[in-house]
């Protein structure tokens, strides 16, 4: 499973993960607390400039950028149709700023660095019974089995097409779910033996 992280190094890759996450959290919160067009406009221009400095790295985010552009066009069109141009501008500017910085963080931060920050942030929850250190194990299991279940779905779909000439559709969801539950029991046994959990 390939993440959206880009191996091509930029200046933003050198910034620590926690600093980027903190900036994103403060930016998102700050922008929602203001309706000033000057502030939102300046923020959007700075965020676009930061994103642009990443250069060719942004090419991998093309599908995400298309989604952002489409969302902005739809929202702007809707508010303009309702004759609220200021609201259209406020909404689009907020969306552009926060979403572009979210993309920038994803493109320039390793999954393992983000995971480390998440585990640190969640560690106080250990005192109320939530084991944050299990996160890495569960993510690894999830990624390993995502590809396995996708291959399983393809096999079920191909078998259905061979038998009936039509795609499996909803009919193969139940066998896929049963296979997942059976696999979970086997994995649980393995974990119990390996990890004594």
């Amino acid at each position: 499973m390939k993440s959206l992280y880009s191996e091509q190094h930029t200046w933003l890759h050198a910034v620590p993960a926690y600093a980027k996450l903190l900036f994103l959290a403060l930016l998102g919160t700050g922008l929602f607390l203001t309706d000033q067009l000057m502030v939102l406009g300046a923020s959007a221009m700075v965020c676009i400039a930061i994103f642009a400095t990443l250069g060719w790295v942004t090419a991998t985010a093309k599908p995400l950028l298309m989604g952002l552009v489409l969302a902005c066009l739809l929202i702007a069109a809707f508010h303009l149709f309702m004759q609220h141009p200021v609201l259209a501008a406020i909404t689009v500017l907020r969306l552009v700023s926060t979403t572009l910085m979210g993309f920038a963080l994803t493109l320039t931060t390793r999954y393992s660095d983000l995971l480390h920050v998440f585990e640190r942030v969640l560690s106080p929850l250990k005192s109320v019974g939530l084991p944050a250190d299990r996160l890495a194990l569960q993510l690894a299991l999830m990624l390993r089995f995502t590809e396995h279940f996708f291959i399983l779905w393809r096999r079920l779909d191909d078998a259905h097409r061979l038998r009936t000439g039509k795609p499996g559709g909803f009919k193969i969801l139940a066998p896929l779910t049963i296979q997942m539950l059976v696999a979970a029991r086997r994995v649980a046994d393995t974990l119990h033996v390996r990890l004594r959990r």
């Binding site: 993440s3 909404t91 994803t106 999830m142 139940a174």
Partner: protein, 200 residues
């Protein structure tokens, strides 16, 4: 001697419960990711249905409230970490700032409510389990998720409450169909795995 054996069985059960929880949460999160990769299924008259919200309903019905909540939180954590697991290959932190992010945040809550209702409703036979699954999915997987979606649209897209509600109603028929599909899957699982404890 029997106390020692009982302790060993009890601690073994607890350890097994913990490993079963880890496995169920992780593998169900993987199943939800796969639902995002499966192409849209076309109903008669060419209406397309995506499957990821069906995964939210199934998680609640199959795993119960706590594990379903954890599975969806794990899935969203993986999305936040940059993995393109949402339908259409979307991922990363940017998706949590989009107008539809209310629906994403509603997924873990919807799964919890679905699981909580499934735990309370009758499940003695495959038919009763299926009917309970339909009711639980409609409340948790549909109503709760759409409430969060509407709140997201109001706060992020700056729609009025009426506009946001009208906008979300468009998706309700498709989601009702998913409730029916969830019930059918639960019925088949109840027959294929008679010892499975629906609702946790």
């Amino acid at each position: 001697m029997f106390d020692f054996a009982a302790d060993a069985v009890a601690s073994s059960f607890l350890m097994n419960t913990s490993s079963l929880s880890i496995a169920l949460v992780s593998l169900f999160a993987a199943l939800i990711a796969v639902f995002g990769m499966i192409p849209k299924i076309d109903l008669p008259l060419g209406v397309p249905i995506t499957l990821q919200t069906l995964g939210v309903m199934l998680a609640g019905c199959m795993l119960g409230p706590k594990r379903a909540l954890q599975a969806l939180l794990l899935f969203l954590a993986a999305v936040a970490l940059g993995l393109p697991l949402l339908s259409g290959g979307r991922g990363g932190l940017g998706v949590f700032f989009a107008p539809a992010s209310g629906y994403l945040i509603g997924w873990p809550v919807g799964a919890f409510v679905t699981g909580w209702m499934m735990a309370m409703l009758p499940k003695q036979s495959p038919r009763s389990a299926a009917m309970s699954a339909f009711a639980a999915s409609a409340i948790g997987g549909l109503l709760v998720v759409h409430v969060f979606g509407v709140v997201g649209l109001v706060n992020i897209a700056n729609l009025s409450w009426d506009q946001a509600i009208m906008g979300t109603l468009v998706f309700v028929p498709g989601d009702l169909i998913k409730c029916g599909v969830c019930a059918t899957v639960v019925h088949t699982v109840a027959r294929g795995l008679p010892d499975w404890r629906f609702g946790g």
